[in-house]
């Protein structure tokens, strides 16, 4: 999965070449790239890792990798998508080294879950992160691609290099799980 993510980042980089080669735009500079994108990249990293220190670490790694291949980026408009792909690759590498999440953290008491989220329910950012941290890495990735990058299910399939049908079922399951857990959290907080 890691290798696939890396090759996706590379292929995205390749796809950014032609537009600018012809236009003859000035090459991107790392300082400008960091200043233009660090907030979005950090937010993305934080949603994946759930902690400030880890998010900063993989953001730094992503920009370091980006710097090494900076000469290959020709279209500044596509830089953010490529940076996100690089970041995902760094994240996948890091979780491969991480100890598995204890199973107890994944338990969900279905009796506590209300029927559905209300239309006007505001989603608290910290509550959202607590719920994301409880999900599997596969679920978290597909949700970040959908909600953060707002990619279509076809684009998600391309990024993760999995079948479209797999993405559709994984996405539906992950969203349903996310909502159920958000509802459970909201209900638990309301009781307290």
């Amino acid at each position: 999965m890691v290798d696939r993510a890396e090759s996706t980042a590379d292929s995205q980089m390749e796809s950014t070449r032609p537009a600018n080669d012809q236009a003859g735009d000035a090459p991107l500079e790392i300082r400008q790239l960091v200043l233009d994108h660090y907030q979005a990249v950090y937010r993305y990293a934080f949603r994946l890792t759930g902690s400030q220190a880890d998010a900063e670490d993989i953001t730094q790694q992503a920009f370091l990798l980006a710097h090494r291949k900076l000469h290959q980026i020709r279209d500044a408009n596509k830089a953010s998508g490529w940076l996100f792909a690089v970041l995902r690759s760094c994240y996948l590498k890091s979780i491969r080294r991480r100890r598995p999440t204890p199973a107890a953290n994944l338990e969900l008491n279905v009796d506590d879950i209300p029927d559905r989220l209300d239309r006007g329910e505001e989603i608290d950012r910290e509550r959202l992160q607590q719920v994301l941290d409880e999900l599997t890495d596969d679920a978290k990735l597909v949700l970040v691609l959908f909600y953060f990058e707002q990619l279509s299910y076809k684009e998600i399939a391309e990024q993760l290099d999995v079948a479209i049908g797999t993405v559709m079922s994984r996405l539906a399951r992950a969203k349903s799980n996310l909502r159920a857990r958000l509802l459970a959290k909201i209900a638990a907080d309301a009781v307290q």
Binding site: I30, V34, D57, L64, R97, E122, D124, K175, L182
Partner: protein, 258 residues
């Protein structure tokens, strides 16, 4: 739940809020059913509204103060401030230069082969794996003298740069050293909280850090020992821990990137 119902549910979940996904042919079935099914439409609209709220929350992350400066500093510290490679430009080679170039390249290749065969790859060129493999051999004590330690400890380039990511509650005890391409790698023994098998920290000053991460990267995890390497400002570090990977993760702070 029949197959169509399940497929409709997946299509609803695949529709992004704020995008005109319903107009795409692959959502044709859903668009058609929504026209004639009030309940399904209500379910769809609710899903879109909740997704919009979640999308907003996803982007609602506070940015730590000074993050941009830290990122730029980090790039500089790790040697990333070198100019990136320029786009390769076509080079016109005149035919009369070809024999000269061919012989020069040939001689260079032979010289490089002899150099690498006799001396091994220079530490400046080591990859993380090569550094881990070498560092793994540098933990054997060689009867280091007290005077030698005093000299080493007076070397501020080594002493002043303890890495930020040591196993928690570890105490460093000078253990041995190793000459490596003009530098001195110093090996410290770690007195760890678990009082288990030995663990060592190796500090190699003044080496290139290309390819190294800023946080420990576990390179070797077989043969009864784990070796992680990383780069700090002007130093490479290796953490050699005798024992299983489980022990490594017990000793090293357990963050996704550490």
């Amino acid at each position: 739940m029949n197959d169509e119902h399940e497929h409709l549910r997946e299509l609803i979940e695949a529709c992004r809020p704020g995008h005109d996904d319903l107009a795409s042919p692959e959502f044709g079935l859903l668009a058609e059913r929504l026209d004639g099914d009030e309940r399904l439409r209500e379910q769809f609209e609710l899903s879109q509204q909740v997704d919009q709220a979640i999308t907003t929350a996803f982007h609602d992350v506070a940015i730590p103060r000074g993050l941009a400066d830290r990122l730029l500093d980090g790039l500089t510290d790790l040697g990333a401030d070198e100019a990136p490679k320029a786009k390769s430009t076509p080079v016109v080679i005149r035919r009369r230069w070809l024999p000269w170039m061919a012989s020069t390249v040939g001689i260079s290749c032979v010289a490089a082969a002899i150099y690498f065969f006799l001396l091994g790859v220079h530490p400046d060129l080591w990859t993380p794996t090569q550094f881990a493999q070498n560092a793994s051999k540098w933990t054997q004590p060689d009867g280091i003298s007290a005077d030698a330690w005093r000299n080493l400890n007076s070397d501020s380039s080594v002493r002043a740069q303890f890495p930020p990511r040591l196993p928690s509650k570890a105490e460093l005890v000078p253990h041995t050293w190793q000459r490596a391409g003009g530098s001195t790698a110093v090996c410290y023994r770690l007195r760890t909280a678990d009082n288990g098998e030995p663990a060592y920290l190796i500090v190699l000053p003044g080496r290139g850090s290309k390819g190294f991460l800023a946080a420990p990267e576990l390179i070797i995890r077989t043969g009864g020992r784990c070796v992680a390497v990383w780069a700090g400002k002007n130093h490479l570090y290796a953490l050699v821990i005798e024992g299983t990977e489980n022990r490594y993760w017990r000793l090293v702070p357990s963050s996704p990137t550490a």
